[in-house]
């Protein structure tokens, strides 16, 4: 048994036999030709044929991976017709009197070189696109269009790397998984694998490739990126169990997708998802969440080396809001301090950061940072359904200040003629005992509450979240916490506001019935919990 470690790009497990990917890449030789015109004709024929093949791949990709991901093949067609690329090929044929295959290969090398020398991993990945289209043209000239013939059995395709067109061209019914020795998670191949729902591991290394041969037994774990060659019995058993667990979850997903979050007696509740970045949207949609209940905006600040500009923020928010196509997106304003520190904010070290200068306290002290974020949020609101929520609220006066800054921002945008939605919902997090206790005063000021149970637990029970010794004292089901949530829910409803829960407790299915009985309107959980939670809700009967 041998283990290799790569990067998992699609989380699923496959157990099966190796099929080494054979590329019909003919060795290109430089041949001197006397009839240049013939070579030019051969080139133009091969190009038409390549474009024909690419349109077919594009059509296949449209169905299997959707328009956005299929567009790369449209780009490939454009690359084949690119003037500079063609001039270079024709120039080599004409000036050196050489065969067209050679001219294409040299041109491919030159352009690929240009891309791989760029100090940008995204552009470096484009080098493989150039090689891919060039190999296709060369293959068309050699008239060998025999693809990868595979036997009836489903196999695990192993390759040094796979071009996007090769990935899409694989017959999905015959591929259990694929593993590449190289590649990047930025590559279109990785993106396509995710969309084709094929377990895939990339960057398994050269050693992996040299250790395997056709027919070898392999386990691919796309969750962890682990590949096991010739697994022993126990390992195989364990992985098969993990696989059937996956299958069960997938089944659940299929059965529950598109269904309502409704109890047996007809009580409905919204189940939304929590995400921490723009790239989480895929999982939100795949798991059929009804909206985004908590979008943590911190990533914008954490990934940046300086304060992110209004436009940078606007673009990120807009992308999320647009992707959700009208479904509600609740974005939480900056929540740093405590366990999340950012250098350029220049915050002083504190003895007790959880009780310190964090979240809304920073925003109200440094309104210029806050206003930039609010302007970006309001501008993005024009593109869908937005809710804005504010973290770490403890008093009425904080909410008054926030609302007046929101009004200033809206007035500015109106003056500048910049569109924004008039229906942006405003909410506050209930994550301090203070907010819960004065929820009767806060509710009339806002559209919604969102209970952050992690902080509410730490502040109510006086238990530091980071201290593992306190585990036995930190009872997340503590009556005090449940009473604070109930109190907030009652006060919200009394004043026409709605209430959601976005902390970890929302996903705790042993409390789902309790929350439903309190009249909680929305539960927001990380994407993989959406469907299991829906399953729980649909089995509850509140009339009993």
């Amino acid at each position: 048994m041998l283990k290799f470690q790569g990067k998992g790009v699609y989380g699923a497990i496959a157990v099966g036999k190796v099929s080494l990917f054979k590329r019909q890449e003919a060795q290109v030789r430089r041949i001197h030709v006397s009839n240049v015109k013939e070579e030019l004709e051969k080139l133009s024929e091969a190009k038409s044929k390549a474009i024909e093949q690419l349109s077919a791949i594009y059509e296949k990709a449209l169905i299997e991976v959707g328009e956005t991901n299929a567009q790369i093949f449209e780009i490939h067609m454009m690359m084949i017709e690119d003037d500079d690329y063609n001039e270079s090929i024709i120039n080599i044929i004409e000036t050196q009197s050489v065969n067209a295959e050679y001219a294409v290969a040299v041109t491919a090398d030159n352009f690929a070189e240009m891309f791989s020398s760029m100090d940008d991993s995204y552009m470096q990945a484009r080098a493989s696109d150039v090689r891919d289209i060039s190999n296709r043209i060369i293959a068309c000239m050699n008239a060998s269009d025999g693809g990868n013939e595979m036997s009836g059995e489903k196999m695990i395709v192993c390759a040094d790397d796979l071009a996007p067109s090769e990935t899409v061209s694989l017959d999905k019914d015959k591929v259990l998984a694929f593993v590449t020795a190289f590649g990047s998670s930025n590559s279109h191949t990785a993106i396509l694998a995710r969309n084709m729902n094929i377990p895939a591991v990339i960057c398994a290394g050269e050693e992996f490739l040299s250790s395997i041969k056709d027919g070898d037994k392999l386990i691919v774990d796309g969750h962890t990126g682990t590949i096991i060659l010739d697994p022993d019995e126990d390992t195989e058993k364990a992985m098969l169990a993990k696989q059937s667990d996956d299958a069960r979850k997938k089944q659940l997903l299929q059965e529950l997708k598109g269904k309502e979050n409704v109890t047996i007696d007809g009580t409905k509740i919204n189940v939304f998802a929590n995400i921490g970045g723009v790239d989480g949207i895929g999982a939100v949609l795949a798991n059929d969440a009804g909206g985004i209940g908590l979008f943590r905006s911190e990533f914008l600040y954490l990934e940046s080396e300086d304060y992110p500009t209004e436009d940078q923020q606007f673009n990120a928010y807009k992308r999320v809001i647009e992707s959700m196509a009208g479904k509600k997106v609740i974005i939480r304003t900056l929540d740093i301090g405590a366990d999340k520190q950012i250098g350029y904010f220049g915050l002083e070290k504190e003895d007790n950061p959880a009780l310190g200068f964090r979240a809304i306290r920073i925003c109200l002290t440094r309104p210029e940072i806050f206003k930039t974020q609010l302007r970006a949020l309001y501008r993005a609101s024009a593109f869908g359904t937005l809710g804005i929520m504010f973290p770490m609220i403890t008093s009425v006066s904080e909410v008054e200040k926030i609302l007046s800054i929101c009004d200033e921002v809206k007035a500015e945008l109106t003056r500048e003629g910049i569109p924004f939605s008039k229906n942006v919902e405003i909410g506050v997090m209930v994550e301090t005992p203070a907010a819960a206790v004065i929820s009767d005063l806060l509710a009339p000021m806002v559209d919604f509450f969102s209970v952050g149970t992690n902080d509410l637990t730490q502040y109510t029970l006086a238990c530091d979240r980071q201290n593992s010794k306190l585990e036995p004292f930190c009872d997340t089901h503590h009556e005090a916490i449940l009473r604070l949530i109930k109190m907030s829910a009652d006060n919200a409803h009394k004043h026409g506001a709605w209430i959601g829960i976005c902390g970890e407790l929302a996903a705790d299915t042993s409390l789902t019935e309790t929350f439903l009985r309190m009249g909680i309107d929305e539960l927001s959980v990380s994407a993989p919990y959406v469907l299991p939670l829906r399953d729980t809700i649909r089995k509850i009967d509140l009339s009993r």
Binding site: I75, M79, D82, M118, D120, M123, D311, F314, A316
Partner: protein
């Protein structure tokens, strides 16, 4: 001739997909459009060269539009940039 500057806001810059879309748009305009970054200038219908410029988030590029309905072409390009990049 019409000229304007644009600062890239998209996190990965002018990468393959938007570059392709931009080239497609400009080919349909009937004006000659060039893009300049620093001392490098390309004709905006040259896909590979455009991608090869490695225009990144935060880079400011200059568009020059010549011939045809310059006003309309410049507006179309600016609109595309605002919406996609």
């Amino acid at each position: 001739m019409k000229e304007f500057n644009y600062t890239i806001k998209d996190a990965v810059g002018i990468h393959a997909r938007p570059a392709g879309q931009l080239v497609k748009l400009i080919k349909g305009l009937g004006s000659t459009v060039t893009i300049t970054k620093g001392d490098k200038t390309v004709n905006a219908t040259q896909l590979m060269k455009l991608m090869g410029m490695g225009i990144k988030c935060g880079d400011t590029v200059t568009f020059k539009v010549e011939g045809g309905d310059e006003e309309a072409s410049a507006n179309a390009v600016e609109e595309f940039m605002n919406a996609n990049l």
